[in-house]
Symmetry: C2
Subunit: 248 residues, 2 copies
Amino acid sequence: MNSLLSLPHIRTVLARLEDTIIFALLERAQFAQNACIYDPHGFPIKDYTGSFLMYLLHGTEKLHATARRYVSPDEHPFCAPLPPPVLPVLDMPSPLAPTTEDVTINDKILAVYITDIVPRLCREGDDEQYGSSAVSDVNALQALSKRIHYGMFVAESKYLAEPATVQNYINAGDADAILSHITTPEVEATLLERVLRKTRMYCRDIEAADENSYKIDPQLVVDLYADYIIPLTKEVEVHYLLARTSSD
Amino acid sequence: MNSLLSLPHIRTVLARLEDTIIFALLERAQFAQNACIYDPHGFPIKDYTGSFLMYLLHGTEKLHATARRYVSPDEHPFCAPLPPPVLPVLDMPSPLAPTTEDVTINDKILAVYITDIVPRLCREGDDEQYGSSAVSDVNALQALSKRIHYGMFVAESKYLAEPATVQNYINAGDADAILSHITTPEVEATLLERVLRKTRMYCRDIEAADENSYKIDPQLVVDLYADYIIPLTKEVEVHYLLARTSSD
């Protein structure tokens, strides 16, 4: 098996992405919700129609595309069109099987982030920190997208572990059976417990006298994992497997 | 006094930037040194002469400049030229006094970062994670630059607290007297102690059995503060005061 698909490797990547996600959410949580940055009519932007966040996200992705970020099989852009790389493109064969359709769900991640995550994470109102908020959003969205789409690697690894069983579900188009097959409650419980321990450490307010004073409620990050990040990852896994075609 | 110059406000900003800096350094520390990204001849980049890091840093600053980042008196770009904002420019009067010269030291920050900080922070060698390394570098450099140039706010606040004394040193062009006046060893000791406690929390390896297992040596971040970040901040303070002209 391609080493990128070994479960220990995947677990290491996902655990490390947890740190990035928690840091990014904590950075964003410094600022108010600043709803105007998500409003397509929030700011007049020269030669651009869309929200300030989308302006900054698309601009960042254009730059990163020229630096060949999206050539990597574990990176998926939110925006289009994007320019070609200005660097020589590496030969980076994907360990994933071909799929019959695009299984990325960045539109959904973006909607969930703006509609559900920011309002739960940030205090209400407007503190005029639009640039800092949107830069934090871009970092958080990139980390969330990478983590959630890593579901394709997880799914491929699970497929290769039991190809006959999973192929039967795929042939039957049985999304529920696939979802049940890829769901391991004890792994999810371990993950949530680890996210809680990490968030407690990363968001402790060290200036406060109280040992248990936190910048944000650590349970909130656990809830964001349970309510959005894990379910969206599994959604990617199911999409990927249903669209999977033989790579032979 | 302008509230942006109150010492409690400045201390809050600096303490919060500590978190950003430590997070950014920890992100960078995941990857090997990858010296080729700092080498102007490390990669052939279409229509660009310079290192991969500078390509990404300048591209990021161009985007952020259009989003009016550098209109803010506490933000200073590394690169030039930069395009004008595409957003309406806010009326953001600076609380700083005018200066007779540019007191920014981003060239020096960049040199110290590449020559001293990355080699101490990252393991030797090349892991091919060039994009992720350079994106982390950009985040770290932006946070370091903001923190170090906040020295201007610190210096202005200290000037306003004792204008006659400091003006005498300025009139005499006495950099040593200014440096001595702005140096408060007990404040620095408190800061370093807080950085150590924070870094211990943020970089603990939660997967390890040992309570004292860290992803990087926490003392390293303290040393980076003591060796570079604090001295460079004081350098900005001295430059600013020597170049300060009356704002009346």
